[in-house]
Subunit: 508 residues, 2 copies
């Protein structure tokens, strides 16, 4: 290890003595512990110590409870799941191996609102974190820990853990110092307002402040984050973006929005990213973002001169975009801030700023209840993430989805969702490639008409119209035919398709 | 009309000329209008002009859209529903006649989070209010309108309506002046923090400030609010309170709470009121309340010297308690504040104060998803009210319910709720007369065990255990047997009971 680099990256001399191997750091992790790890939607994930823990577990079996910002990258979740060392996992994941272990009931997965995980720790309502493992760009002369591409729950893990292990990642540019805004929300009983009136308001410090003696070990790494796996925009995501642009244009015309809209939040995944990217073709200016994750589309909008500022808790990019942004960080530094997820997702700030939120639904029912998480109502996909934090508190809460999945075998608009993450009270606008349903101010029976008429097509549209007609005969605020409400999912479970083959055959 | 009374109650002289009959005031209401009316859970309801509108509709047919704080008293909702003059109704009701009209699909009912209704008006996301009809104790020399037993959405109706009609109610004591805290939340794009750090912090003025020329008519009334219909505490509500007191005692012992707990919110209805009343037997001191409604139990706790301060948007009392409180208002004036529902229910303040919220569930499923509103998933009971505003943002979100309804024909704990108002992400504690399930930090499969083991008894317990065992065989994060998930409700629909008669016969 080059001492010059070490002196620049660890500027509090006494801490340089803590540099050690991943294997030695891993020894701090004991059976039964709760371990807090940095990482948010792949960004700023720990990369080294967890793999050393897994290796060690082969000879010294252990089970730990793992809590993070959100999903980890660099194969950490899959390695831990494969080794069977996780008894519990919170609050978000996107890993196929881990997901399968969760759905087999082997890992107890606690799917939290992402603004709440750290808060529960501070309130001592869940078991405390024993050891925190946090990725850092550097440690300043004052002992401030500078996070990397995500902040997540790092400041709360550092505050509440007994010991902290740092993974100092040399692959990030030192210029990242100053790109973070570490505001630690005050706590009961002395809570005060959060001093953020617009996305660019700095409220906190550039790094995480804890007593240096809490740092038990520092491990040096230089691996980059796993790049995001988002697929590129396609014809359908372009259509969704087109409907949204038309909607925004009309809101501007009606005087309800201006050409800078409201600060934007956009969810993770292919669809939300593609839709945001599609906004480039709209007549917008001076956009801002107050979100969880900056994705490729954020920097495309900044590059296009359409977005002035973006605040989030993580930067999750494709391989190519990552090189552009981190290779050229000075260009973007004045346009972004990374905050703790408690702040990026905080109901107080989301309410005050009045966000337009755009999240992706797995499926939606005719009344506008959204399932974001559970395939067939039972099997975990990723988790609710921040979608609840944002949707509950939005100025305008938008959900997007393609109208069908799996080549049309699945309709994303169903009579009743078998799992609800967002209730009709919280869903203002639904958009599919077919069109947009404006649900604001509508009663459930009116919502059903708006959704079926605007967002669905083909045989599923006919099937939903028939369902509603039959349900209405039974009456109610939110009419249903109980014995048929989940029949589409049962058919999918039994036949692999939601299509009503019997009826199709009869018709044929 | 005694001029002396009029001079005391309408202290801005020019407004005294606006005093008129209900019939004359009703002429301002035209077909197709949207009318904002004061009234929140029966309290501070308009009492006179709506009945004049109904009378007039007999000869001059009209349809109006009615938006309120919450439920109206004094037969206003039933009279309007019976006359068929409401095309639309928002955001809450508790009236049997209206409920039936809603469930027949005759009135489009928009069931809002109560913190959001006014906000949607200010954002112009729903049709504007044409005329506001607001009950008042008095109008000051500055033209400030002093509300009566509720504030609700009055300040927003007054701000956004073209015309305002006042119902000046002489049955309220003039001493109520000063008991209201009318803080109008600032609005996009200039929103600033709400200056409330504890329930007793005054943030606004004593009355509603609008240009006096907006007041089109003043009608004099002297009818009291409809008293609340809450049933008295019974053995089961005492058991629920007992379980809660044990839970709080343990939280205090663990250092997570102090003997003043956190500011309390309690929902409407018999059960929440009885449970709050039951807290009198606990070891608590210096309690405070930050809630929607003060009920009898609030004043019992104040009288018992256990509660220092209560803030809400409405005072809804039994006949007897109402006489005590309004007949002796000076005694309570320093212990209470009435605020707009946008503020009493505001996510920012609820988060900052860290409330313990206690709301009643109609039914809950084994994973802790709560149905607060829809009997059988389809038929509206009352509405979600503020339960979402509080539950999403609580320090500790508690739901209470008796374990069975209708003499045991209905289990309040079911495999899957057919309507979700509060998702498992938001529900921390569930209490029935059987016991308490602490769901904090648990994954869904663990939640199911906690709920079934602690909150259910008898044959329903066995039936739920069998359901879970079968569901677990199918796997998933949240296992279900889709074709049986709603079978209990189907059985109720078909046989009038959730009991598994076939199985009972087999066993016998
Ligand atoms: C809902 C979510 C999974 C969609 O992700 P996406 O990448 O935009 O969407 P895709 O259409 O590519 O769908 C992802 C997968 O779900 C499948 N899918 C989509 N709709 C489905 C449905 N109704 N039923 C079953 N599977 C479905 C797709 O086929 C695809 O499967 P594959 O991975 O096997 O190809 C993702 O947005 C998510 O996890 N959301 C919850 C968290 C969240 O909203 N966070 C926001 C704050 S950051
Ligand atoms: C859920 C709610 C209806 C319970 O009211 P309550 O008066 O405490 O409870 P009760 O047990 O007396 O139940 C009220 C009625 O619902 C019925 N009921 C209760 N559980 C039921 C179930 N699972 N299925 C069908 N009916 C049920 C009761 O039998 C009773 O019927 P009745 O009026 O014909 O006698 C009421 O709390 C509510 O409307 N909540 C939603 C709004 C809210 O939570 N606001 C909170 C912020 S103020």
């Amino acid at each position: 290890m080059n001492t010059d680099v070490l002196q620049k990256r660890i500027r509090l001399p006494e801490l340089r003595e803590k540099v050690t191997s991943p294997e030695a750091a891993a020894e701090y992790i004991k059976d039964g512990m709760k371990v807090g790890m940095s990482g948010f939607t792949l960004a700023g994930s720990v990369k080294s110590v967890p793999h050393a823990i897994v290796k060690r577990a082969a000879t010294h079996p252990l089970k730990i409870s793992v809590v993070t910002g959100a999903s980890l990258g660099n194969d950490v979740d899959s390695a831990m799941a494969n080794a069977g060392i996780m008894s519990k996992r919170a609050p978000f994941q996107t890993d196929r191996t881990l997901r399968n272990a969760i759905n087999r009931g082997e890992v107890m997965y606690v799917d939290n609102h992402l603004s709440e995980t750290g808060e529960q720790l501070r309130k001592q309502q869940v078991k405390k974190v024993d050891v925190a493992i946090l990725e850092a760009v550097s440690i300043t002369e004052n002992g401030e820990i500078i996070p990397t591409a995500s902040v997540g729950n790092n400041e709360i893990f550092a505050e509440t853990a007994d010991k902290v292990i740092i993974e100092l990642n040399l692959s990030y540019p030192l210029e990242m110092e100053g790109a973070h805004d570490i505001y630690c929300a005050t706590h009961f009983p002395t809570a005060v307002p959060i001093n953020i009136m617009k996305p660019s308001d700095r409220a906190g410090s550039i790094g995480i402040r804890i007593p240096p003696e809490k740092i038990a070990a520092i491990v040096i790494t230089d691996e980059m984050d796993t790049p995001s796996q988002n697929l590129p925009p396609d014809a359908e995501t372009a259509q969704i973006a087109g409907h949204l642009i038309e909607f925004f244009k009309n809101e501007i015309k009606q005087g309800r929005l201006t050409e800078s809209l409201r600060p934007l939040q956009a969810g993770i995944g292919t669809i939300a990213n593609a839709v945001m990217s599609g906004l480039k073709t709209g007549p917008f200016k001076h956009l801002t973002m107050y979100s969880e994750v900056m994705q490729d589309s954020t920097f495309e909008l900044i590059d296009a001169g359409m977005m002035d500022f973006a605040a989030a808790t993580a930067i999750t990019l494709s391989d190519q975009k990552s090189r552009e942004v981190f290779g050229n960080f000075a260009k973007y530094k004045d346009h972004i801030l990374l905050r703790p997820q408690r702040i990026s997702n905080h109901p107080e700030v989301v309410q005050r700023l009045g966000l337009i939120t755009i999240n992706t639904a797995l499926e939606v029912d005719i009344y506008g209840h959204v399932n974001s998480t559970h395939v067939m109502g039972t099997h975990m996909m990723n988790g609710i993430g921040g979608s609840g934090d944002f949707t509950h508190n939005a100025h305008t809460a938008i959900f997007v989805t393609k109208s069908v999945a799996k080549d049309g075998l699945i309709s994303s608009i169903v009579p009743m969702v078998p799992h609800v993450d967002h209730t009709e009270h919280d869903v203002d606008i639904l958009v599919t490639e077919v069109g947009l349903a404006d649900l604001r101010g509508l009663a459930p029976r009116e919502r059903a008409q708006a959704i079926i008429n605007n967002c669905v097509q083909g045989e599923y549209k006919t099937m939903l119209q028939e369902y509603v007609a039959e349900a209405n005969l039974r009456g109610g605020q939110t009419p249903h035919v109980l014995e048929k409400a989940l029949s589409w999912h049962q058919r999918l479970y039994e036949t692999g398709s939601m299509k009503d083959e019997v009826k199709l055959t009869q018709v044929a």
